[in-house]
């Protein structure tokens, strides 16, 4: 049940979000969450004994391939993840510039 490892990864990400009060660590947790998610998406398309979804040599599409759609979705999801992470880091930098710390607890009440 390798598929459920990705669920555990998602849960790890959530755990990190629940317990961490450090901006950078929160972003890392978010990334763990996203990676778990992406793995899960790919796992959904897996077919036992399926080929990578690329036609090669004289093969035809009659052969059994794994589902290519989740791969395409994951590609999008990864890129979006990159975008949000970059933005999150930028905000982290802004936060550091404003408060001089990455620890949310040390920033005082806003």
């Amino acid at each position: 049940m390798i598929q459920y490892a990705s669920i555990i990864l998602i849960m790890l990400g959530l755990y990190g979000l629940l317990t961490n009060r450090n901006v950078i660590k929160i972003i890392i947790s978010l990334n763990v969450f996203e990676i778990g998610l992406n793995l899960f998406i790919i796992s959904v398309g897996y077919v036992d004994g399926g080929l990578a979804p690329i036609l090669t040599g004289n093969s035809t599409s009659v052969l059994s391939f794994v589902d290519p759609l989740p791969h395409a979705l994951v590609l999008t999801s990864i890129v979006i993840g990159v975008g949000t992470t970059a933005l999150g880091l930028a905000f982290a930098k802004k936060i550091y510039a404003k408060y001089g710390t990455y620890e949310i607890d040390e920033m005082g009440v806003e």
Partner: protein, 246 residues
């Protein structure tokens, strides 16, 4: 205490989800996904618009002509998603620039590139950028495509970047490239409307499955994506690296 509680709750949720997925009769077990039942079956057989039972490598006349099914989905069947995805990256890159240009001034890199970096990067630059372009161009034939390719292009530029401070000041063209490529992508899409009636329609000849010059607009789109992603990632890096909190 908080951590233990969080752990318990998260564990409970994790096992709950696994449990409910396990009991879920409609959710296929790992490895037992029935592709023929899904929309992807059409993508594999390339018979969304035309009737054909199977796709044979080396023949022509299929609706997308890309031997990489994932690419055919990314750059053709669901190209609109990709446009959106590029937009997300674009707006993130723009956002990073926007956030950093506000209240702190630009300063140069705070380290001096040493000999190894300078020479090594020059040697590697060509190789990496070649690989990046190759991957972008062959996106419809081999694994990879515009996004990995673009990232490689960006990493080659990053090398130059680190090794040469004067290079950094010259690359104002990134923005132009990025904007231009983005516009081109949209314009290709719009051209589709006027050529065949559908936005982002694959209006070029799809060619022989497996050839470099095949699959209609897919390679073109992927090259555009590659360049765009490359310039965007590079500009994000640019913003992060040169930004000193003042």
């Amino acid at each position: 205490m908080k951590k233990v509680l969080s752990l318990l709750v998260v564990l409970a949720l994790g096992f709950g989800i696994i449990n409910s997925l396990n009991q879920n009769s409609s959710f296929p077990k790992f490895g037992e996904a029935d592709v023929s039942d899904r929309v992807s079956d059409r993508y594999i057989n390339k018979n969304v618009t035309e009737e054909n039972e199977e796709v044979i490598f080396g023949e022509d006349g299929y609706e997308t002509g890309s031997s990489n099914f994932v690419t055919s989905i990314v750059a053709n069947y669901r190209s609109f998603d990709t446009l959106g995805e590029v937009t997300v990256l674009f707006i993130s890159a723009f956002g990073v620039a926007l956030l950093f240009s506000k209240d702190s001034k630009r300063v140069s890199l705070n380290f001096k590139p040493n000999f190894m970096l300078r020479v090594g990067s020059r040697a590697l630059f060509g190789l990496i950028i070649m690989t990046g372009i190759y991957i972008s161009v062959h996106g419809h034939l081999t694994p990879g495509g515009g996004f990995p390719g673009g990232t490689m292009i960006a990493s080659s530029i990053l090398l130059l970047y680190l090794s040469n401070d004067s290079f950094r000041t010259k690359i104002k063209g990134f923005k132009l490239l990025e904007g231009f490529m983005g516009s081109l992508y949209v314009l290709i899409g719009v051209a589709g409307i006027y050529v065949t009636g559908y936005f982002l329609e694959n209006f070029l000849d799809t060619g022989v499955v497996g050839d470099l010059f095949s699959a209609g607009i897919i390679p073109i789109v992927y090259v555009i994506i590659g360049l765009k992603v490359g310039s965007e990632i590079a500009s994000i890096i640019d913003n992060f690296l040169t930004e000193e909190v003042s």
